[in-house]
Symmetry: C2
């Protein structure tokens, strides 16, 4: 089990919370800034060169810190991308709220676009994430629990859609949540294989339409 070397514990990401910002002293602020600089530098390099071809030294040079400093903030190179998992859950929550307020379909369409957003900047970014996901057991278990919890929320979305008869009665919320994630994942990967990379928007729209067709299909046709 890899561990962080720093003493300070950041439950969540960066210096984003303006509330906390006031409480933190100069040192803690510096610390968060450094972590964020390293993270951003790493993401930019992953986007441009890919994960494998980016060395830790590349990152620390771009972030203008010493090499050892990197490992004060991230136990391994892989853990940088693990950060992305922390962001996803909020999206599922937001989609659930949307679904409860309006119609489920548009909430799901929004989520279909939102989930890959951090990674949609370039095919290399997608590949980087998938690579780490497949490679590092530790990061994978971390991300997987995120996916599971997201699937829970997603099940709720479909549940409400079902209650309002927006989708046929024979569908199972839990199963649909699975298919949703499967569809998003597949869409991302196949997107990276197109040359030249087609516009993301359109690509995801089409993917969602196909997904939604299956969701709203009447059972008679199947089999």
């Amino acid at each position: 089990m890899t561990t962080f070397r720093r003493k300070s514990d950041w439950g969540s990401l960066f210096t984003t919370s303006t509330l906390v910002n006031g409480i933190m002293g100069r040192r803690e602020r510096r610390t968060c800034e450094t972590r964020e600089r390293i993270f951003r530098a790493a993401m930019n390099l992953f986007r441009d060169r890919g994960f494998q071809k980016t060395t830790v030294e590349n990152i620390t040079e771009a972030a203008d810190v010493g090499k050892g400093t990197f490992f004060n903030y991230f136990p391994t190179k892989e853990h940088v991308l693990g950060v992305l998992g922390e962001i996803q859950l909020d999206k599922y929550d937001h989609a659930l709220r949307m679904a409860q307020a309006g119609e489920a379909r548009s909430a799901l369409l929004w989520l279909y676009h939102a989930l890959p957003s951090e990674v949609a900047s370039s095919p290399e970014m997608v590949r980087s994430l998938v690579t780490v996901f497949m490679t590092s057991k530790e990061v994978r278990t971390f991300l997987t629990t995120g996916l599971q919890r997201g699937r829970g929320k997603l099940g709720d979305v479909f549940q409400t859609a079902l209650q309002r008869a927006e989708i046929p009665a024979h569908q199972k919320p839990a199963a649909l949540a699975f298919r949703f994630q499967q569809s998003v994942f597949g869409a991302m990967v196949l997107w990276t294989l197109q040359t030249p990379a087609p516009p993301m928007e359109k690509w995801l729209d089409n993917g969602f339409d196909f997904f939604w067709a299956a969701v709203t299909a009447r059972p008679e046709a199947t089999k």
Copy 2:
């Protein structure tokens, strides 16, 4: 561009063809045997430990050859998995023949199971393939052309299904071919994340049912 170091050129795989077996001299037979031993040893290790955690030396030890020998047969460790691409095209062809002989649905269901077959032995196997797919540009372009050609055949399958009115008239063969591959890919990846790994058969059956529901959906419901 990495190149092979050996002189002999094997268009296709191993010593499989019994016809050729008679023609080949002892040297060529030895050569094919060695290549196959290395390949099998590598695949077994990938299945058990995963791609990253398998070193080239692990492979050569398991295959009982010197380390240098490995690089006589495969330019890089990644290229071992590239071999899998060669096998896929036959499957698409077979599916097309099935579709022309009988009904398209069962041909597609068969293909849905057949495509992941080499890799379905363990989650690590899937991860290994996906990792290489995302990681190595050279192997990726190689595999991608395979996917494209497969997509072509797949389009033909849907075309015949369309002509026979097995699927609604509004569907586009090319688009369906895309969705098919997307669905298979997504299914494979999500399968690896389940703990414990559920039975493949059932998993793929469900994935296909969902796919087929979208294919056969009437356009009215969408949007």
